[in-house]
Every structure is written in structure tokens, then in C-alpha cells.
Symmetry: C2
Subunit: 181 residues, 2 copies
């Protein structure tokens, strides 16, 4: 049987860019800010005064982002079942292109460069499943969309939701998962 294909977003899904930005804000200004403080706001308002956008544009930001908890182990196991493609809307930040490539090579060496996609609009990506934190990427997707929880998407209820990678692994590999029956 042909293996199913699975597109996985980077930022906010396997790269914890939000935690990274909060940490930089704390180190630079001594003010503690949390994902809970930003809950329900659009992504650009993670931090006050547009600082999230400012940090994202700084060289090195994406290269030094931490890996999302459990992502490496989950993707290793998912790769036994699926053809995994990492699909990032990286084109908005051209400086990030080599940084994201190097980041993948360091943290996910088991994913080939053949399975990396850097794009703008994700509407021409066609796989069986897509995991993303942004509804705008999931809304025009022709396969099964799965939303990955983030401070900016908790009110979206039109897609199956995973709150972390443990849940993702269960949803996509457990034979009793509603997506697989």
C-alpha cells in the first residue's frame, strides 16, 4: 500500500519560535512575558510594541530557535508510517532560508533535503495530511487538516486539534484514531 504523505509546518509546530521570542524579550528587557499573556491575540502581537516581528527579522533568530518539545521523537516515529515533508512559509523572511535549512540539518538530520519545502502561499501543496498552527494554511488544503495548538488559534474549532507532539503521535498512528478508521 502506498504510504500516506504528511506535511508538517516549522514555526510554532516543530520550532518553538514563540518560546524563543519570549526568552529573548526577557533577556533583553528583564520583563517576563508568557504565552498566556498573549493568549487569543494574533501571532504578531505575541509581544508588546511589535517586538515579535522585530525579533523575527533579526539575523540568527530562526537558526537559534529551540525545538518544540517531543518533536524529534514524534517525527522519527511518524517517519516509520508516513512520507514526511517539512513545509515552511519561509519566503516572507528571505534571510531565514539558509538558517532554516541549517536548523533542519542540525535537529532533524533524518529528514532529507528532498523533503523540505520553503514557500509563500501553501495552497499548491498536496499531501494526505497537513499539521499547521495557522488556519489560513489549512483552509485551502485538499487533504486532512490538523491544527497544532498555539496561543493565537485556541478559538479555531473546525479541525482536529493536537496540543503537543504526544497527541500528534497518537492521532496519526493509533489504529483507533478517528482520522485513521
Amino acid at each position: 500500500m502506498k504510504r500516506k504523505s504528511l506535511a508538517i509546518d516549522m514555526d510554532g509546530v516543530i520550532a518553538d519560535v514563540e518560546a524563543h521570542a519570549l526568552q529573548i524579550y526577557y533577556e533583553r528587557f528583564g520583563k517576563l512575558w508568557t504565552k498566556e499573556d498573549a493568549s487569543g491575540k494574533p501571532e504578531k502581537d505575541l509581544l508588546p510594541d511589535g517586538y515579535f516581528r522585530k525579533f523575527v527579522l533579526e539575523p540568527g533568530f530562526f537558526r537559534s530557535a529551540p525545538v518544540m518539545d517531543g518533536a524529534v521523537e514524534a517525527l522519527q516515529k511518524l517517519q516509520e508510517h508516513y512520507d514526511i515533508y517539512i513545509v515552511s512559509a519561509a519566503m516572507e523572511f528571505p534571510l531565514s532560508l539558509p538558517e532554516k535549512y541549517d536548523w533542519m540539518t542540525e535537529h532533524f538530520p533524518f529528514i532529507s533535503w528532498r523533503n523540505l519545502v520553503f514557500c509563500g502561499d501553501k495552497s499548491i501543496i498536496s499531501t494526505d495530511f497537513m499539521i499547521d498552527d495557522h488556519p489560513k494554511n489549512l483552509d485551502h488544503f485538499s487533504g486532512q487538516s490538523i491544527i497544532f495548538s498555539s496561543f493565537h488559534n485556541f478559538d479555531i474549532n473546525r479541525y482536529p486539534r493536537i496540543n503537543n507532539w504526544e497527541e500528534g503521535l497518537i492521532l496519526l498512528t493509533n489504529p483507533l484514531s478517528p482520522l485513521l478508521i
Copy 2:
């Protein structure tokens, strides 16, 4: 009516990387080599002694490649009819990522970064049409494939062929075109 989508390859289709490599070879070694000399060989053997591959890996190679004859005018006209996506298998050469982005911004400023895709394998790209010089990219494509002539693909006859951008424009816009009837 929803506009049709059209994926267009970069190297060998809108960027004349072959002519570029032949020119560098001539400037560096004083030997004239032509696309006809390489006719029928695989792409990597455009130049003797693996020089094509060596040039491609040099910083600046993609940034300074010339635009394929007629490509700018053709894409401007095609954009009146199609949603154009530039899809490049750039991931094999990570150094080329920012170079290709800057090249597009310089030569095709009318194509948004939203419509750029840098990938490895093109098998998850889904558009209505795809123009490419490599059969490996066209073979697993679910839409209508169109092959763009190159020294390395003249013996492929399983796809409609365009020899240049004038022919491409006719094939994709003339109401009497066999692809559009």
C-alpha cells in the same frame, strides 16, 4: 471562473544556467563549448570534467545567471491568464536559496514572494500545469505536464514540448491550443 494555476521551473526554463556555465567555462579556460556539444548528454555533463557541477556550487553562480530569452515578457502575459508559481528544486544547493530569491526580485518583480516555492522533490506540488525541463519532475505530476526543451531532454516525447517562450505563450494562451480545447 477560477483561474488555472501554472508551476514554472527556474533553472533551464526562466534562468539560462546552461548558457551561463558555458560562458564561465569560456572566460576561464578560453575553450568554446556549446549546448550542441553536450546534446543528448545528462545535465551534469554539460561541460567536460564535471565543470558544470563545480560552477553550480560556486557562490554567486545562480545570482548572476542570465534570464532565458523571452521569459520576462511571456510570464507577464501568462500572468493575465494564470496564477503563476515559480517552483525550483533549489534545496539541493542551499547556498542558492537567497541568491534565487534575489534573482527573482530583480528580474521578475511582478511575481510575489507568495508565489515562490523552493523544494527538493516536486512530487507534492499540485497545480493545473507544470513547465519543467526535467522529466523526473513531470513524471509524478497530477496536472498537465509541459516539457521545456534542453540539450539533455530532446529524446523525451511523452509530453507536449515548447522550444522557447514564444511557443510557451502560444501553447498556453491561444484559444486553438490543443491543451486548452
